[in-house]
C-alpha cells in the first residue's frame, strides 16, 4: 500500500491465528525440542519449560502483539516506527532497525534450509535413498549441499534450483499480500502440517519394536528417553536456562515478525485470546507432536545409546540424516510416503515462518517509503537473493552458522529485552497493560502485569548475560574455528554489518524524507 492508501487487513481471526502460529511453528518444534527435553532431565525438563512458558513465552507474545497493534494505529508495520511511537526519542527508530536486521538476516539462510526440506520430500517420494547407513546418508546430504560429490549429486545445481523454487514460492506469497497471500498460505499449510504430523505420530506409536531381534529398541523406550523424569537435573542451572532458551526460540519472539502481523489489526481487535491461541497451537505442535516423532522412532531403530549420539550431533543430523535412514529402512513399510510427509511437514513449518520473516521489511518499505507492495517485495527478493549466494557457496566454511548465531540466537534475546523495557517501562506499564487488554475477548490476569514488568525483563537479562559469557564471547573470539574458515567467518560478519548499516541508513532517510509529515 502507499502512504495515502488503506492498510491491508486480515480476512479472518482464525486466519490471523494460523498465520502467527505458522510463524512460531518451525523446524525447531520437531527437531530441537525433543533433543532438548531428552538431554535436560526428560520429563523433569517440563517443569522449568512450563514455568518459563508462563513467565517468558506468553508475556512476550502479548507484549509483541500489543506493540504491533499499537504501531499499526500509526501506520507502522515494522519495529522502527513502532519503537518511535512508544519512545519519543530520536534513537528509538534505530533500536527498532534491529527488528528488521534480525528478520531479514534469518530469512537469508532459513529459506535455503527450507529448500532442503522441499528437496528431501521429493527425494523421499522418488525413492532416491533407501537402505542407507549413517556414512552414506551423510554423504548424500553433503553432496546435495555441494560440499562433496556422490553418485546421486555431482554438483550443487539441484540444491540451487530447489532454492530458487522455494524463494519463488515465498516471494509469490508475500507479493499477494496479507490476506490473499500469507493468510491463505497459513489456512492451507497449517492444517496439512498437523494432519501429516498426526499421521506420522500414530504410525510411530504403532511401530512397537521394529526389529524383534533387538527388543530394547522400541518406541516405548523412545518415549521413556524423553519423558522419564530425572529430578536431580532440576538442581542444575543449565537445565533451567535450556528450558528458558527453548521457550524463547519456539515462539519466534524477538524477531519483529509478530509485530508486523499484529500491525494489520484494527485498534479494537482482540489480541489477548489470539496470542494465547497462537502460543497453545505452537505448544501442541511441539510437546504433543514434536516429541512423538523423531526421537521415539530414532530409539526404535538405532537404540538408546546411538540416539544419544544423534541428539548430541544436533537437529540437522537428526532431521536430514537419521530420519531418512529410518524411512529408507525395510522395517518401515511405505517409508517413501512417510518420508515425503515428514519433509513436507517440515517445509510447511518452514515456509509459514519464512514469509513472516519477509513481512517486516516489506511493511517498512511500504509504510515508511510509500512503496507499493509489489515493488517492496521485489526489492526484498533481490537483496535476499544476492545475500543467499554467500550462504550457499560458503556453507562448508561456517558462513551460515555465524549468521545464525548472531541474528538467530543472540540477536533475538537482545531485541526481546529492548522491546520489553521500552513497552513496560518507557511507554509505561499501565499504558501498555491498557493497550494489550483493549478489545480483548478475555482479559489478561493481573498476575501477568507484574510478570511483564519485573520478571520477564529479569529473565531476559539473565539469559542475555549467560549467553554472552557462555557462547557469544567464544564465538566472537572464534574459538574452535578452523584456520581456513576464518576469512569466511569475517565475510559473514562483514555481510551482517553491511545489512545493519544499510537498514539504519534507510531508517534515517525515511524519517528525513517524509516521516514527520505522516506523523
Amino acid at each position: 500500500m502507499s502512504q495515502n492508501g488503506e492498510r491491508e487487513q486480515w480476512g479472518t481471526k482464525i486466519g490471523l491465528i494460523l498465520a502467527v502460529a505458522g510463524n512460531a511453528v518451525g523446524l525447531g518444534n520437531f527437531l530441537r525440542f525433543p533433543v532438548q527435553a531428552a538431554q535436560n532431565g526428560g520429563g523433569a525438563f517440563m517443569i522449568p519449560y512450563f514455568i518459563f512458558f508462563i513467565l517468558l513465552g506468553i508475556p512476550l507474545m502479548w507484549i509483541e502483539w500489543g506493540i504491533g497493534r499499537h504501531g499499526g494505529k500509526f501506520r507502522h508495520g515494522s519495529a522502527p516506527g513502532m519503537f518511535d511511537v512508544i519512545w519519543k526519542n530520536k534513537l528509538a527508530k534505530y533500536f527498532g532497525s534491529l527488528g528488521l536486521f534480525i528478520s531479514i538476516t534469518i530469512l537469508i539462510y532459513y529459506t535455503y534450509i527450507e529448500s532442503w526440506t522441499l528437496g528431501f520430500s521429493l527425494f523421499s517420494i522418488l525413492g532416491l535413498y533407501s537402505n542407507e547407513t549413517k556414512e552414506t546418508m551423510t554423504g548424500f546430504l553433503s553432496s546435495y549441499q555441494g560440499i562433496t560429490t556422490s553418485q546421486t549429486f555431482s554438483s550443487i545445481w539441484p540444491a540451487y534450483i530447489l532454492m530458487l523454487l522455494t524463494f519463488s514460492i515465498n516471494f509469490a506469497v508475500l507479493y499477494k499480500g496479507i490476506s490473499k497471500g500469507i493468510e491463505k498460505l497459513a489456512k492451507i499449510a497449517m492444517p496439512l502440517l498437523f494432519i501429516f504430523a498426526i499421521i506420522l505420530a500414530i504410525r510411530i506409536f504403532t511401530l512397537g519394536t521394529p526389529d524383534p531381534a533387538y527388543p530394547e529398541n522400541s518406541v516405548a523406550n523412545g518415549f521413556a528417553f524423553i519423558w522419564n523424569p530425572d529430578f536431580s537435573a532440576l538442581g542444575n542451572p543449565n537445565i533451567w536456562l535450556a528450558a528458558a532458551g527453548q521457550i524463547f526460540f519456539t515462539l519466534s519472539v524477538g524477531m519483529g515478525t509478530i509485530h508486523a502481523y499484529a500491525s494489520y489489526l484494527k485498534p479494537n481487535d482482540d489480541i489477548v485470546l489470539s496470542g494465547l491461541a497462537t502460543a497453545s497451537t505452537n505448544e501442541f505442535a511441539e510437546v504433543v507432536l514434536g516429541a512423538s516423532i523423531a526421537i521415539p522412532v530414532a530409539v526404535a531403530f538405532f537404540g538408546l545409546e546411538a540416539t544419544k549420539e544423534i541428539a548430541a550431533g544436533g537437529s540437522f543430523n537428526l532431521g536430514f540424516v537419521s530420519m531418512p535412514i529410518i524411512f529408507g529402512n525395510s522395517h518401515f513399510p511405505l517409508g517413501e510416503l512417510f518420508g515425503f510427509m515428514w519433509f513436507l511437514l517440515l517445509f510447511f513449518a518452514g515456509i509459514t515462518s519464512s514469509v513472516a520473516m519477509g513481512q517486516p521489511v516489506v511493511a517498512f518499505l511500504e509504510d515508511e517509503f510509500g512503496m507499493d507492495r509489489k515493488k517492496a517485495v521485489t526489492a526484498l527478493a533481490i537483496a535476499v537473493l544476492i545475500a543467499v549466494q554467500f550462504v550457499i557457496f560458503f556453507l562448508k566454511y561456517g558462513f551460515l552458522d555465524e549468521m545464525d548465531y548472531w541474528a538467530g540466537t543472540f540477536g533475538l534475546v537482545v531485541f526481546a529485552l529492548i522491546e520489553t523495557v521500552l513497552f513496560m517501562w518507557v511507554f509505561g506499564a499501565d499504558k501498555a497493560w491498557k493497550e494489550m487488554n483493549q478489545g480483548g475477548d478475555i482479559q489478561i490476569p493481573m498476575f501477568f502485569y507484574y510478570v511483564m514488568k519485573y520478571v520477564t525483563p529479569v529473565i531476559l537479562m539473565v539469559l542475555m548475560i549467560w549467553w554472552f559469557i557462555q557462547s557469544a564471547l567464544p564465538t566472537l573470539m572464534m574459538h574452535n574455528i578452523a584456520a581456513e574458515n576464518v576469512p569466511y567467518i569475517w565475510g559473514a560478519r562483514i555481510l551482517m554489518v553491511a545489512i545493519a548499516v544499510i537498514l539504519m541508513l534507510l531508517v534515517k532517510k525515511a524519517w528525513e524524507n517524509n516521516h514527520s509529515e505522516v506523523k
Partner: protein, 36 residues
C-alpha cells in the same frame, strides 16, 4: 527401561495442560466469531 509411572504422569500431565489450552482458546475464538 520403558516408561516409568513418573514418566507417564509427566507425559499425561503435559499433554492434558496443552490440549486443554488449545481447546479453551479455540472454543473462545469460535464462540466470539459466532457472536460477531
Amino acid at each position: 527401561m520403558g516408561l516409568t509411572i513418573n514418566g507417564i504422569i509427566f507425559l499425561v500431565l503435559a499433554w492434558t495442560i496443552i490440549i486443554s489450552m488449545v481447546i479453551f482458546s479455540f472454543y473462545k475464538v469460535f464462540k466470539g466469531e459466532e457472536k460477531k
